[in-house]
Amino acid sequence: MADTMGHSATATRNNTSVALGIFVLALAPQIFELIWSLGTIFGWGTGRGPVAALIGHASALFAGAPGAVFGSFGGGAKKLSSDVLLALMYSYPLFAVAILTLFMTIKSAQDYVGGIVLMALALFALWASSDLQGMRGFSFGAGTAPRMFGGLMVALSAGIALTGLLYDGPSLQHYSWRGPLFVMASIVFFALAIRPLGLIVSAFASFLIAATGSHETRWVEAIIVGACLTAGCAVLFPYILGLPMPMLPRFLMQ
């Protein structure tokens, strides 16, 4: 999602920036895996290393997928790797859309971009469910329904994008960065801190991080309210509602 905001932030006069945004969106899963894979260098998380991911995707995008497209004419029906499938099912259609965008007159960027991003999500879902079993006789396989609804969503989102081309409508709205950034930071901090640091520390710190998201915040007031709220939560959740939660940091509990 985050990368879609980049291109949406600038109001577009011509289509170049929209097309560029779609192009980035088309590579978003690959870029995401690459960033994710950097963690494996430090031993965090699981998955391929950055080099393997880069080589895998690059070869899939530049060689594997075109090969598969042309290979299918030759009747070769060998099993495609998931990287190639991603390139084929997700990136290429979006590349095509990005190129087409350059030649379109967009009447409502709100609808057009909305439709295209939804289409990207649908294509991604189609790819994600491509390894699941389909119909077996009369019984649905695991993959039947996701593919059915994925296909339906591609059609619907194409329809939405089309309305963006045919009817006048609002253009892209302004996105701000401060609110989303600090609210997200606060949520992520809470998630990471609740287990090791306990409710009191994480709730108080998250409150202050979230408060940073607004330029109206007055700090003394925020700290007082944050402390009261934390105290309230520390009584309310474990004692009145009986939810088992760590209260204090783990290193203090030993």
Partner: protein, 326 residues
């Protein structure tokens, strides 16, 4: 800049105020603080109820409270993976059952733990017998007729179960492998909806734990063909055992047992086993377990060694039954 400084200041203040709360650590014999018992299923289910009854008594023996934490997900394997990784100081335990510590091995190829290698067995708590149930107007009258009918109509009959990996699913798979049939299994989201469908006559039969079925059988909304244990159950004295009814090969019980993470010290394991055994000998605990239709293990079955043997046997048994199905 100002903001960051404020934040940092606030954090220091918070940390300082926290230190006031901290009690000095005490050096004591096990258990030094409350014990967390992970139950891999929702509160109120058979495993949860059995855990609560037994741990309630164990807590008195151990002199520390035992907190039940229900962690649900992926047929109980989420909770079991977590228990396997928990600190092995005896303060985190898990009530495992037939699904999490046996049937999960063939069902989940990417299982993050192994029931035998990652856990120390403590004690078997109780077994819940499994029944063969059918909608009340299902043609066969007894188990023999049922076997013949299901074999003859394997293409037509529908067997309900409460989801992949549930007790009702794996035990019916066992029945099907014994009868060498593959009828259509209709999955439901839990025992409640499956029972609803059986009472409503939407499906033909299912295998389920005794707890849920007794009142329905007594009211005549469904019928039971046999109970898959060696002896009849006091809560259903009229239901024959599978041996009596002519299908001795079908034996299944949803057993529940306490495990600790691998490497827990033998002294702690012995303390816990003794507490569990004492609980099972308590009249009140016994009565409440029997009310549920549970089977209380005989003294010889309550040792960690017996439990280890049971897990080993059960893993082998379910691996043989469930492998060919997938």
């Amino acid at each position: 800049m100002n903001t960051i400084r404020m934040l940092a200041g606030a954090c220091v203040a918070a940390a300082a105020s926290l230190c006031a709360f901290v009690a000095p650590a005490q050096a004591q014999t096990y258990p030094t603080r409350s014990i967390t018992m992970i139950v891999p299923f929702a509160a109120g289910g058979p495993t949860d109820v059995i855990s609560r009854i037994v741990t309630g008594h164990m807590a008195q023996t151990l002199g520390q409270s035992i907190i039940i934490e229900n962690v649900v997900g992926a047929g109980g394997t989420t909770a079991t993976s977590r228990a396997a990784r928990a600190a092995n100081d005896g303060h985190t335990l898990i009530t495992g059952h037939m699904g999490t510590h046996a049937a999960s091995v063939p069902l989940y190829p990417k299982l993050a733990y192994h029931p035998e290698k990652d856990f120390e067995p403590i004690a078997l708590l109780a077994g819940t017998p499994i029944l063969i149930l059918a909608r009340k107007d299902f043609p066969p009258k007894d188990l023999k007729e049922f076997v013949a009918y299901v074999k003859a109509n394997a293409e037509k009959v529908n067997a309900a179960h409460a989801g992949v990996g549930s007790v009702s699913h794996v035990s019916c798979e066992l029945l099907h492998s014994i009868l060498d049939i593959k009828p259509v299994g209709v999955p439901f989201n839990g025992t409640g909806p499956a029972m609803n469908a059986l009472v409503g006559g939407q499906v033909d039969y299912m295998c389920d734990q005794i707890v849920n079925a007794v009142p329905q059988i007594n009211a005549g909304t469904i019928k039971a063909y046999a109970i898959a244990t060696p002896a009849r159950n006091p809560s259903l004295p009229n239901v024959p055992t599978t041996t009596e009814a002519g299908l001795p090969a079908f034996q299944a019980q949803a057993w529940n047992a306490i495990f600790a993470p691998k490497g827990t010290s033998p002294a702690i394991l012995a303390t816990l086993n003794a507490a569990a055994v004492k609980a099972l000998d308590d009249e009140n605990v016994k009565k409440r377990l029997l009310d549920l239709g549970s089977v209380i293990p005989a003294p010889a079955e309550r040792t960690p060694e017996a439990l280890a043997a049971l897990v080993k046997a059960e893993v082998a048994k379910w691996s043989a039954v469930l492998k060919p199905a997938t």
